[in-house]
């Protein structure tokens, strides 16, 4: 099966890292297709970026030319989840809810460690919207914007571990990595913690495979029913896609 794994930002290196994790955890027979939006944000920090990335991701999905069987939305805490589900019939899994689900399966409470304080309210809102906030016992940040956190590499691990331990002291029985850019650090971080650590990319790929495998598709009765695609949407998803509009390449950091 073909699964699109859509980075929420335009940083090609992050798409690549996400794709590597996805490919590593995918089952035999799953073809991971990493996707970068054509426009948007080089990283998503807070609500403003999140809404930009949501539209960029939705446009990428609207104009995606080839076959796919499912979608993973790889932006932790980012918007757009329900929009992608409305657009598509195939399953759409967001790393925010996927990681919370696995956290719920391995502990009675979970904590989230995210990038900067600006993301905390957004993360809580996303968990509340998908009905998974009640067992979250805290969201803490390492105090670095996404790009800085990713750039910090191994230097970013110490504040992550410190924040995770504070959450554990407050009762968290598992920890969720609240930033897709941390996926490359998973192996290092998991060794430092004595509670389960959840990587949303792995979690979402697995759930997406599972939905496809079970033949479950998004409900088209009710709030996720197909949008009327004949209705005018000026400047949206135009003939030829938006790629042509931008002479910039996807940003590299």
């Amino acid at each position: 099966m073909d699964i699109l794994v859509v980075n929420c930002n335009t940083s090609a290196s992050m798409t690549e890292a996400i794709g590597r994790t996805a490919s590593r955890v995918a089952r035999p027979g799953t073809n991971i297709i990493p996707v970068t939006p054509y426009w948007g944000v080089s990283s998503a920090d807070g609500f403003y970026d999140s809404f930009i990335s949501a539209a960029a991701v939705l446009e990428r999905l609207t104009t995606y030319p080839d076959h796919f069987d499912g979608v993973v939305l790889a932006g932790y805490g980012e918007h757009g989840r329900e929009g992608a589900r409305q657009l598509l019939d195939v399953p759409v899994v967001d790393i925010t809810e996927a990681s919370a689900m696995f956290a719920d399966l391995v502990g009675q409470t979970f904590g989230v460690v995210t990038s900067s304080d600006i993301a905390i309210s957004q993360v809580r809102q996303s968990l509340q919207a998908c009905g998974l906030l009640s067992r979250c016992c805290g969201v803490r940040s390492v105090g670095l914007p996404v790009l800085d956190l990713v750039a910090a590499g191994s230097a970013g691990r110490a504040p992550f571990v410190a924040a995770a331990r504070e959450l554990i002291d407050q009762g968290a029985e598992s920890i969720v990595m609240g930033c897709a850019g941390l996926t490359t650090a998973y192996e290092d971080l998991v060794r430092e913690l004595d509670v389960p650590l959840i990587d949303g990319i792995a979690a979402a790929v697995s759930l997406c495979e599972s939905l496809v495998h079970q033949g479950l598709r998004t409900s088209k009765v009710g709030s996720l029913g197909r949008p009327d695609l004949r209705k005018p949407r000026p400047g949206w998803a135009r003939e030829g896609g938006r790629r042509a509009e931008f002479d910039e390449q996807p940003v590299e950091r």
Copy 2:
């Protein structure tokens, strides 16, 4: 004071209707500036459209060239609220939360009548996100997409009144008009109901004036802190704005 009243969709007639209501309710000295996004959706029905409109509205605000003292977001149930607040220092008021606040002030419970079923979950999510769901006792639709509801004119009023009365029978003590396009029907609808009817446009303009008047601006400490505008956002809010990108005019219906 100058207040931008931003339609969430590209239908110029709807912007005009919204602007008329806003101007009618504005206090002396308030200058209402109706704004249409350069691109987006001709109407917002459900999550997919909502996320498109959120980005289009945010881009319009990001590149808006002139002075303004406050913003009204005139899409009922639409996304983007917290993004606009993060972007700007001046007050931003969304008609969804504004109307719920006034509903709370005149009754112990309120009901929302919206356009089509596809919007119901989105409306509930928006009210939950802004902390105002607990006194909402129901969301019902008239079963028409926004453009059809607006086009129906006076023919759309009967199903609105019927839905409102069902909500009142279930305990709603006031009714919120859950679609900005209904604003022109306010005078007719209010006569049909024996409970207060809230028009989000009027509610939001009034709250926005009030925030400016009190000197209250959006908190920049925490989750609504200014986005880093030097960070690359490829294809976003480019030099010259997006207007040039689209040869289409804003859609007229």
Copy 3:
């Protein structure tokens, strides 16, 4: 328009201070009428005082002889709100909910700084009753009963600022002044904090003006329907009012 601004206690100096704030924030054309109950409490600290003040305020409103277009209830966290709404058709706005509404409009979470610990549970109950507790991230006190806090004048500001900063450290993005008596300190306090500070008097006057301006009145269908005023209420709101009963003047502190 004429707006009654009803102090919840009998301290004339507090009524005067509240009236000054109300007059300062009122729009041109708004006539602020400060009102003191004829009997009750010299200050309201906790549930016992709150219920006394509620009845005293309601009796004052029941027997108020002259015209008014709206009412502001100026006791932070005090009871009576829904009773006044039931009694009257004109809008009634309580400073507790008004300030929470403006706090919600300028930040994702708010904290309340109130007078003494005895008020904390009452404040939370009032916010819960009006459906606005979910975004309150904490209520803290400065540890002084209302009269002492007011008497402390500028000496009371330091503990207020300290409590506010603790709330901000815990994630509060705006601060609500949880005591009407603090209104005179607003200008000083706002300078000390880097988040929005909400004064309930200003907030409520503005909302009340707005309700009158929009023509919104309290719903008379359901739980706020007019009380049967012909039913015997012995000793309540008697002929000639209660003024005559008390030879004391309103308490001055």
Copy 4:
């Protein structure tokens, strides 16, 4: 032990009926002292009456001249509970919460049948304030103000049973009598229903006896700490009490 059973209204016949139930259910050694407020409402229907009755009851308790070991507040859904607890050290039990507690002990969900629609929101607010709303699956009224319901006598039972059955159809596993005036009909009503029926008077007397028996008194640390009784409360609980103020006798209906 001496237990004051305080009617929330001034109708002597209702005090007497409440006292009869209380005496019937009291244990040997318990002395029931029925108490009528000196002023207030002949019946409490809705928020306005409820706040009046709260102050009248609190004043009665403040000036009560003789010894008592505990208090039952016998107004269903009425305010004042936390105020009486703050005033007194001895236990105070309100029939609203007492009946919900017993309902919780005999079924997974309960329904409340109250007098008129005007009381519904108030009942829900009272249950929410005491933390017992989550297992209430509905509040319905028989559509009669309290005095009419009491006057109806056996004619009032049919609508009560009808409302109770609707609640049972919706999943209520027990029914709470949401009006103290119904206490005389208990024996008749219980025969008509195949689920447990809870009379708040019986429930509260029993809990009050139990608190006294266990030596539990109200916490004086925190929000229920004793009010400062030296603080001026003009016109409140004056020398000689209020009895002298009213030449009317408690209203009889």
Copy 5:
């Protein structure tokens, strides 16, 4: 009346201690019958033990040969409550909910001090299931498994008092003893605290007496309707009971 007080574990000394408390608080005419399960756990620490004890207690109740008028389940936080209610018509009171109810009656918030961290989530879940979590402001442990806590005797009191004081500092207005084994320490602990201390055994015995006294029995309409006892339950509650199966005596510690 005869009340079974069922220890959740097999430790005879704990049954005896529980029985002593129950007898001490029982009213004249109440006959306390302490009961030990025939099999199960020597103490219940956490979910695993709790589910074992639930079945052992239910089997003991299913095969109990003699008359009884009510049941007290004396395991704090343990499962089985709703199962016993379904099995029996007579009242069943669990010490977890009983103590929370009395805590609610004497303070606005309560804290629970339990044995070890492993119990915290279970306690919260039990309170949530019976609808009494909302006024619990914290659950803390003394860090000792039940048997060690009981064995510690007076040495266990210092950590209890320390944990209770932390909860009081955080706003708890009363404290619940979150372990039945602490019942013998009640008199010592109550002296150390300046807020009410609730012993679930006393609370539950009193509520059970009260239910019997009021003639209230468990609802048999809905989720607590009698189980079909003719349905095969292999190995369950067999002829002769399970006593014969175990040559061990109930464990003594």
Copy 6:
């Protein structure tokens, strides 16, 4: 990998049916091991049966002699989940939460169709305990105990479909099969409904495979830490297991 799929009841035919579904949905390389408790209930209807089954399942897991990599608990709405997690390090997935998670991934709200009314409260409690109740918009029964529902075969489908359609009319966007015994009817039922239908067995097997695949094991820090297995548990999980105790074979229906 080896996954135990544990029936909650002793009906061998139901174990077999559950095992067939599990094997059908399992990935290549997954070895499904259907397991029947040695004792317990021939079917689990309501709380009483549920607690019996929980202990029987836990004892079966405690004494299971061979290797396994994960566990699926195949009783819808049954207790024991957290106990099995505490006992084991390998992942444990309960069909109740697994099906709710997949329902959340394909629709904004879900409804549950269960066997008889007696199960409704238990289902809600189980969803609340695992934090997944907030998006459940209703639980309805077909009005048949489990064994009758299974025996009804195709005749049981009509009431299932009717109940599902009522839930869809009330806003359910997907339907969960709230009884493991329905698993054989999945193919027929899915054809009748135009919303996704979730079979908990398939859902849980898939999640369990996924947890094993990701290397996630249950947190042993906090409430799911290993029980002290040296502590006396008289009559529990004895040498030789319990199989020898029962001459009955697992019940066949």
